[in-house]
């Protein structure tokens, strides 16, 4: 009896330890990031390193937010990611429905190859195209190139959601005389709403994070936040505090979404992944 209880306690302790080991790389990293962003320069350059700041250096954040272009870069990020996500949903959701219902596997393969293709290989032709069209000073090149990221994600996630829907309801709708478009609009779309949330979240996050295209396509006034952070990393000698503060601000929206909507995001990642093979 006592031995049995001891076994259970030991098992629980081992499990708690294992969970702590798995969670700590992520947790400690982001805590360290927070610590770097809140420490005055004297703490950030001291050895041994200090985790808890001696004084909280809010001026790191103030310095980033007071930088003239920060609002502009934030706005650029919102426009580029917002538009690329919205267009991908408008075009990708009906397409995924069509592919799922028509069992158009060859189209699904094209989408899969698009997911495999290195993003960089789109950059040379699109760069030349936008140069030729004279659009390089605007946000359009980035919006269009971000579609390369968002459209395959939306189609891929939505195909698996539509395939999982019961087809009987839609057949009943057809028998009652509804057109395919009405069946889609009035039956399939409302049922797929959780899937659309997932697709929206993933498309938004991965587009927000993208910066390869921006390095080449963005000018001084059209940078998105990740591109701006990359540029401040290489071209200006900034101290660690403000740099970490900037990095945290850039990734904060994404981290909040991940923690708040972890259920949807996990569902989407595994749906895309398991089907992705």
């Amino acid at each position: 009896m006592v031995r049995g209880k001891l076994r259970i306690v030991l098992r629980k302790a081992a499990l708690a330890f294992a969970v702590a080991v798995i969670v700590s790389p992520a947790l400690l990293f982001f805590l360290w990031m927070l610590s770097l962003s809140l420490k005055p320069e004297i703490d950030n350059t001291s050895y041994p390193p200090v985790l808890i700041p001696t004084t909280i250096a809010w001026e790191n954040y103030r310095q980033v937010l007071a930088e003239g272009s920060f609002g502009l870069y934030f706005w650029n990020s919102l426009i580029v990611t917002g538009t690329a996500t919205l267009v991908a949903l408008l075009v990708g959701v009906p397409a995924a429905y069509g592919i799922a219902r028509a069992r158009a596997t060859h189209l699904a393969v094209v989408v899969m190859i698009a997911r495999m293709t290195p993003a960089l290989s789109y950059l040379i032709p699109l760069f030349l195209l936008f140069q030729w069209l004279g659009l390089l000073g605007t946000l359009w090149p980035q919006i269009v190139t971000h579609l390369v990221v968002t459209v395959p994600i939306v189609i891929w996630v939505m195909i698996s959601f539509f395939e999982a829907l019961p087809i009987e309801l839609e057949e009943a709708g057809r028998i009652d005389g509804a057109s395919r478009w009405q069946v889609f609009r009035l039956i399939a779309l409302p049922l797929a709403r959780p899937g659309i949330t997932v697709a929206l979240l993933l498309a938004f996050i991965f587009s927000w994070n993208t910066f390869v295209f921006g390095i080449v396509l963005a000018g001084r006034t059209t940078r998105t936040l990740p591109v701006a952070v990359y540029n401040s990393l290489t071209f200006e000698q900034v101290s660690w505090g403000p740099l970490s503060a900037a990095a945290l601000i850039v990734t904060l929206p994404v981290l909040l979404l991940t923690v708040l909507a972890q259920k949807q995001i996990v569902a989407g990642l595994t749906a895309g992944a398991v089907k992705g093979g």
């Binding site: 189209l107 293709t117 960089l120 290989s121 040379i124 990393l233 850039v250």
Partner: protein, 312 residues
């Protein structure tokens, strides 16, 4: 930009009037068409254009002339390209293997029931969702030989300080460390999906036969989750081969060219040297490598005749 197609297109007879029978054979065409046009414009057109450019000698702002396969011939004799291929293969091998092992172990733990499981899973997933540039920046500070926290942690366990990404000998393992930190959660999620679908009967009979935990894992769990491990290997391979953000933001291929993968070399040729022709040939070669690798893995999976639970 193409929006949701108008209702009129779908009304009975509109398409049927122009092409008899066409609408019946492709009833879902109107749903797919806008996406097909968009994908053609932003994905298929660049593929074709890149292929054409790879046959030209073309510097930005310079003359363009047709040179046939000369750019590809140059690839074969380019020692820097050879080194980049080697770096890519080494990086990919490590960046698939480590997350696979660690992710599988993590999944076994997270398959148990414990309080705050959902919330903690959200924390574990954070590294793969976080903005790569932002985390690369913090890793760069952590790698700092004098002030970085990693060397401090090493000193706590009595290990000598390292130069991490600043030494050609350790730069690739250091970058793999970041990639492993970032992508182990994805393997964990995939394997968790496999573990959730396990039947309980084999375990019950193994229990009766007196099998221990390791035997049960080796002879029951591992074969049953093998298809999911294969999916994880495929996805991880695709992503690791074309890994760019982390390497570019932390080392830009350096020191020297010690961490220059094909992707980074391609970027340098096209956007630092502005050699559009050669850069395009690199892109095509890289594209072929990635797709061939993926198809080979998918073929292996199909050959072994595994079926995914829940797969269509």
């Amino acid at each position: 930009m193409a929006a949701v197609p108008g209702r009129a297109v779908f009304r009975r007879g509109v398409l049927a009037g122009t092409a008899p029978g066409f609408r019946d054979r492709h009833p879902y065409l109107p749903f797919i068409l806008p996406a097909v046009l968009l994908v053609t414009a932003v994905i298929v057109f660049p593929w074709a254009f890149t292929g054409w450019m790879s046959l030209q000698a073309w510097q930005v702002g310079g003359e363009r002339r047709f040179v046939g396969l000369a750019n590809y011939a140059r690839l074969l004799t380019d020692a820097r390209f050879g080194a980049a291929v080697w770096h890519t293969l080494l990086y990919t091998f490590l960046a698939v293997l480590l997350p696979l092992v660690l992710g599988t172990l993590s999944a076994l733990v997270f398959d148990e029931r414990f309080p705050l499981r959902g919330f903690l899973r959200g924390i574990v997933v954070m590294p793969m969702m976080a903005t790569p540039v932002a985390i690369a920046l913090v890793w760069t500070m952590m790698f700092h030989p004098q002030l970085g926290v990693l060397n401090y942690l090493l000193s706590l366990v009595g290990l000598p300080p390292q130069l991490w990404v600043f030494d050609p000998a350790t730069v690739i393992p250091s970058l793999v460390l970041v990639e492993t930190w970032q992508w182990t959660p994805l393997v964990m999620l995939i394997v968790l999906g496999g573990l959730a679908a396990l039947p309980s009967e084999p375990y019950e009979s193994a229990e009766l036969d007196g099998a221990n935990a390791l035997q049960k894992f080796r002879h029951i769990t591992l074969p049953l989750i093998a298809p999911f491990l294969m999916v994880a290997v495929i996805i991880r391979t695709i992503d690791a081969v074309k890994s760019f953000d982390i390497i570019f933001a932390i080392t830009q291929g350096g020191p020297g060219t010690a961490s220059e993968t094909i992707n980074l070399y391609l970027f340098t040729q096209a956007f630092s040297f502005y050699d559009i022709g050669y850069g395009s040939a690199l892109a095509v070669a890289f594209f072929v490598l990635v797709v061939a690798l993926s198809l080979a893995l998918i073929w292996v999976r199909a050959r072994t005749n595994w079926t995914l639970s829940g797969g269509a």
